[in-house]
């Protein structure tokens, strides 16, 4: 691809359009994610957030548009080969391997992962409760613990881009806060995070960019402080027609 003077963003999504049968789940979505940042996608149920994450991870094929990682087109790379390119998705519902123990779940992260700073001992340092429960079946953990294992499993693949789909879904607010508070140290390690969050105030407090989807289309994007709560609400629920060119209402 190109290697101009300008440093390319880590992830570029161009005009991404994904269909589910007759239904258009994503319609011409474009954005870029800069390295070492947190990029939050917000939107109501059915806005296409999960579809977006799954398409970036390779689980859906777009009918139109491109996905570029460090300037290289990966649109047609199958999901299992994107892991070694540096993309790891923490899927909605956590999706741990239920018959595997906690530690076995973590070890699967290494399977096709890249070399990097994340090791089992570093994970155990971050989540001190984990070592004592490592032989337990993952299905016996609480929701918050499962989410921690799912994030750890993804981290152990040493991704450049960590995708997290609906981190806070079904978790107690205190658990969500403790997981989010660990993100600052992730960014320091050079990781870039693209996440889906239904809780708008949560997304605004941690992300450097927010991107709002409504019925598969972009309704708002920019810095988290660029908009008032009312503007975001309007874009979130589609109350007024937003001005896409300015990225504001």
């Amino acid at each position: 691809m190109m290697s101009g003077d300008r440093v390319r963003p880590l992830l570029e999504v161009e005009d991404l359009t994904v269909n589910y049968g007759q239904l258009t789940a994503l319609d011409g979505v474009s954005f870029t994610v800069e390295e070492s940042s947190i990029f939050a996608v917000i939107g109501a149920n059915g806005a296409g957030k999960s579809t977006l994450m799954r398409t970036v991870a390779g689980l859906h094929k777009p009918v139109r548009g491109r996905i570029l990682l460090e300037g290289i087109d990966i649109t047609s790379v199958p999901a299992h080969l994107r892991v070694e390119k540096g993309i790891a998705l923490v899927p909605e519902g956590r999706r741990l391997f239920s018959s595997l123990s906690v530690e076995e779940n973590l070890l699967t992260g290494f399977y096709r992962g890249r070399k990097g700073p994340w090791t089992l001992s570093r994970i155990y340092e971050m989540f001190p409760w984990m070592p004592s429960r490592r032989t337990q079946r993952a299905s016996l953990l609480s929701g918050g613990e499962q989410q921690a294992v799912a994030i750890s499993r993804a981290l152990l693949a040493n991704p450049k881009l960590l995708l997290i789909d609906e981190l806070s879904l079904g978790l107690a607010p205190i658990v969500v806060r403790s997981i989010y508070s660990s993100f600052s140290s992730l960014l320091e390690s050079g990781l870039t995070i693209l996440l889906v969050e239904q809780d708008v105030s949560q997304a605004r407090s941690i992300a450097s960019h927010i991107h709002c989807l409504l019925e598969g289309r972009t309704t708002l994007f920019g810095g988290p402080r660029d908009f008032s709560a009312a503007e975001i609400e309007a874009a979130y629920f589609g109350i007024a027609e937003p001005n896409l060119e300015l990225g504001t209402l």
């Binding site: 991870a57 899927p91 999706r95 391997f97 699967t108 096709r112």
Partner: protein, 289 residues
């Protein structure tokens, strides 16, 4: 005395059933494929040995060194080229594909080898026996077969629980999509599992052609025994399959003592009885391994 004899012979006969069942259990446990061609694949393994032994001049007992790897490769290819495309269309399609494969194998064997029975002669190992008492003796071959059957189950179990590949096979069996997200090509993983399953069923075919005889149409009979062992053991549980095979073996030999015609029927009756009392099997599957 004859009852004790029957019991012990039954345990050893069970070893043969276990060999037939191990691959079925694995295929079902990992990808939920019910392979109706399983018995025919075993018989084909026996025939491959019949062809290869005079060519390679290998003693029959060692022919598995050639036959098993060939079937591992065939298993991988059959999974990737035949079973995998059918999986998308649902389990009924896969069932029909395996049924078709069964018919094809049987007819090809009939074409190539006629309906006459064949067996593998292994000399003293086949005819000799341990004499325990004057009325109780156990043939060397039975001991070998039971040993191989148990070793097969133990090795598959250890492979699944202790190795990296085994871990990935279990992960794929749990959640195919999540496995892609850690970089696993589930089609390749399925292929590996099918390769192992075909390897074990080739062993079953070799054991059968040493223990008794094979004909092109012998497959389905042993497929039924294999299935019954898997079901009463608990679907997808390898230890259950081991127990199930031995129970069926004992049922067959004890039935034979009761009446000469009852030997073939007794395992099926025991199967139905266990199914009625404990439909989930001895060790209901919580998860693979």
């Amino acid at each position: 005395m004859s009852w004790i004899n029957a019991l012990i012979q039954g345990i050893f006969l069970g070893g043969l059933f276990v060999l037939f069942a191990a691959g079925l259990s694995l295929l079902f446990g990992v990808m939920e494929v019910i392979n109706l061609a399983h018995g025919d694949i075993a018989v084909a393994g026996g025939y491959l040995a019949v062809v290869l032994i005079p060519i390679l001049h290998i003693p029959a007992i060692w022919i598995f060194i050639v036959v098993v790897p060939v079937f591992v490769v065939i298993g991988y290819l059959v999974q990737r080229l035949l079973f995998q495309p059918s999986l998308k269309s649902g389990s009924l399609t896969t069932l029909l594909v395996t049924f078709g494969l069964s018919v094809i194998i049987e007819n090809l064997l009939l074409e190539g080898f006629s309906a006459n029975s064949h067996s593998l002669s292994i000399g003293r190992l086949g005819s000799g026996a341990f004499r325990i008492t004057s009325q109780l003796s156990i043939s060397y071959l039975s001991v070998v077969i039971l040993f191989v059957a148990i070793a097969t189950i133990v090795l598959i179990q250890l492979g699944l629980s202790r190795t990296k590949t085994g871990r990935i096979i279990r992960a794929v069996a749990d959640d195919r999509e999540a496995a892609q997200l850690i970089g696993a090509d589930y089609k390749h993983v399925f292929g590996i599992a099918a390769g192992v399953a075909f390897g074990t069923v080739a062993l079953a075919g070799l054991a059968l052609s040493m223990y008794s005889q094979i004909t092109p149409s012998a497959g389905p009979t042993y497929l039924i025994y294999g299935f019954e062992a898997v079901v009463i053991g608990g679907l997808g549980s390898l230890w259950g399959t081991l127990a199930g095979g031995i129970v069926l073996g004992v049922a067959a030999t004890i039935g034979l003592v009761a009446s000469a015609n009852f030997g073939a029927l007794a395992p099926h009756l025991v199967f139905l009885a266990i199914l009625a009392i404990r439909p989930q099997g001895f060790f209901p599957k919580k998860a693979l391994a």
